[in-house]
Amino acid sequence: MRLTRKQAALWLLFAGPIAVFSVWAVVDNAPLYFKTLLNGLTLASLYFLVASGFTLVFGLMRNVNLAHGSLYLLGAYVGWIVGENTGSWLLAVAAGFLSAAVVGLLLQVTIFRFMEGQDLRQTLVTIGISIVLADLMLWGFGGEIYTFDPPKWIYGSTELPLVEKFPTYRLFVLLAAIVIGIGLWSFLAKTRVGMMIRAGVDDKKMLAASGVNVQLVFAVTFAIGAGLAGLAGVVGGTALSISPGEDTRYLLASLVVVIVGGMGSVVGASIGALLIGLAEQFGLAYAPTYSVVFTFVIMFVALAFRPRGIMGKAG
């Protein structure tokens, strides 16, 4: 692929300063740079897990689910209860996925199904639901901070070249996100249901006309999207912690990720998550006061050049 002069100029404009910074940072303090890089990748993995469900639901149903962050927190809390009672972290992950998926499914079947095509009303309803859910969870679990105990085989730290020691669990998160990402991609690209979902994203009416039960496809997608948020709740809660307010944080993260990456595209979500996760961690390490501003600048630049996001389709 040959670059046009304009593309080359754009690359130079954005990649140039980053390359200069990287060279300076590596020369200045290599372990810090690579550790930040790995931390950024870990955070990007978490963001990808949350945002991929969000973008999937939006792409198919045009439903901006602002209760997505609440599903994250719900999955985390339910996972914590299960983990505490059974002592198994893997069961906690499964419980996080299932509980959020069931709640998502219920929301789709009992509420959103009846307001199809009313984008704004759906969004307002999700806002209402997120307020109610957040307060119910605050009621039930209080303001305390909960933490998970990951199993021994991913606990502790690993010796890596360049960064010295790095928590094994974070490497596991990175790996898990890559596996889930590839799994999601092959589910969408190779399976029959995935094909239906993609067809629905492109043209809902045509899919219905060709004899597919669109409501079923919607329900499945919503359950998967919500479930991914719940799963991310347990995985992310183990990497960091769970407390009230995390729902807002991850909602904002998924919003920015999908705005930057392009709505409805899983590949876009991964690109957006990488950009935002890395920007946030490098911001925290090198310019703590302005780390949020970096995120915002990325969003601004993405919108100015590609109003529908990096992988977004026009129209």
């Binding site: 806002i127 109610v132 605050l138 904002l252 705005i259 006061t289 969003m299």
Partner: protein, 370 residues
């Protein structure tokens, strides 16, 4: 249905209803025949006078608590919500960043004017600080608008949400300009003409004056060519574009107007609270503005104030009636119920009730048509 925009853009059913209202009002203005009374010509009806009289007499009847905590707060909150009503109801752009714009102006007052934190506050005279902050906040709102009108519909809500939360985090993390988590305190309305405008009754009248000015500005704008064109753009941007209207410019201008309203509301808010901190502009507060606007109903500018009164009353008294500290559950539940069952808010409920009481046959007919 005599307005240009209605003729040009039939639009969706729900939206034309909003237009119909504006159209009906402009009909009274342009009605041919014998010269109407001056009061009719500018659209004043008996009910307007009743509300105005009640608003003017209220502080002399009510206790200072009701004047200040309920009355003045509702007016300030209503003014910020009014900016969203204008933007959402007439422009079709639901922005979550209105509280951010208000907070921007509030921070401006604290930074340019005087506050407890003298190291940052520049100590300008209050009128200069207010004017500059309102101006800057309006420019900020226009910039947010320019950013979000590049995309459409449901994207607006997400981008404005992201902008608002980003500003919140900036204010919370930055100590050199925004004084971080602590924010600023000891900010208040000035003393002027021998009156301390911080006192409940004088402050109530300041808030009432601003709210009335905002209300009539919106009432005027939605009947002016700009407002009609804006409603046309809301209903069918493509058609308006082919008619030669500059869609983006109209939308950005709507953001600027809404920004002006929100900024004035923000100055009132910071004077009311006496302090501003990131907590004033966090996500819950941003959403509160949306709740207020939707609760009242976005079809008519008065809805913002109705919503604000209900919200403030709930905030002050609902927690005593129900479980303590469960205000969010109550307000979230009320909001959810309104959105699910009466999308036009309390005004919509009132319209349904009134049409059933006054004209049962007519409303039956309407229902059959629908």
């Amino acid at each position: 249905m005599n307005s240009a925009a209605t003729a040009a853009a039939p639009g969706s059913l729900a939206r034309t209803a909003g237009l119909r209202e504006a159209g009906a009002e402009s009909r009274t203005v342009a009605a041919p025949g014998p010269a109407p009374l001056w009061s009719e010509r500018i659209g004043i009806r008996p009910r307007h006078l009743v509300v105005l009289a009640a608003a003017l007499l209220y502080p002399f009847i009510a206790s200072p608590f009701f004047t200040y905590q309920i009355g003045a707060q509702s007016l300030a909150l209503g003014l910020i919500a009014l900016s969203l009503t204008f933007l959402g109801g007439y422009g079709g752009m639901v922005s979550l960043a209105q509280m951010t714009v208000a907070g921007f102006a509030g921070y401006g007052v604290a930074i340019f004017g005087t506050s407890s934190f003298a190291a940052i506050s520049l100590g300008w005279p209050w009128w200069l600080a207010c004017a500059v902050s309102v101006l800057l906040a309006t420019v900020f709102a226009a910039a947010v608008g320019w950013l979000s009108v590049r995309t459409e519909g449901i994207y607006t809500i997400m981008i404005t949400l992201a902008v608002g939360v980003a500003f919140f985090y900036l204010a919370q993390q930055n100590y050199t300009v925004f004084n971080g988590f602590q924010g600023f305190s000891k900010i208040g309305a000035p003393e002027l003409f021998g009156i301390d405008w911080k006192e409940p009754v004088p402050f109530y009248f300041v808030a009432l004056g601003c709210a009335l000015a905002g209300y009539f500005l919106v009432k005027h704008l939605v009947r002016a060519p700009f407002g009609i064109a804006l409603q046309g753009i809301r209903d069918n941007p493509r058609r308006m574009e082919s008619l030669g209207y500059h869609v983006t410019a109209h939308r950005v201008a709507a953001y600027a107007v809404a920004g002006l309203l929100a900024a004035v509301g923000g100055v009132l808010m910071v004077w009311y609270n006496g302090r501003i901190s990131p907590g004033t502009i966090n996500l819950a507060q941003m959403i509160a503005i949306l709740i207020v606007a939707v609760l009242g109903g976005m079809r008519h500018p008065i809805g913002a104030f109705v919503g604000a009164i209900v919200y403030v009353l709930l905030q002050n008294f609902a927690i005593d009636l129900f479980v303590r500290e469960r205000f969010n559950l109550v307000i979230g539940g009320v909001f959810l119920a309104i959105v699910l069952f009466s999308p036009d808010g309390l005004l919509g409920l009132w319209a349904i009730v009134r049409s059933r009481l006054l004209q049962p046959e007519l409303s039956n007919q309407k229902r059959r048509q629908l």
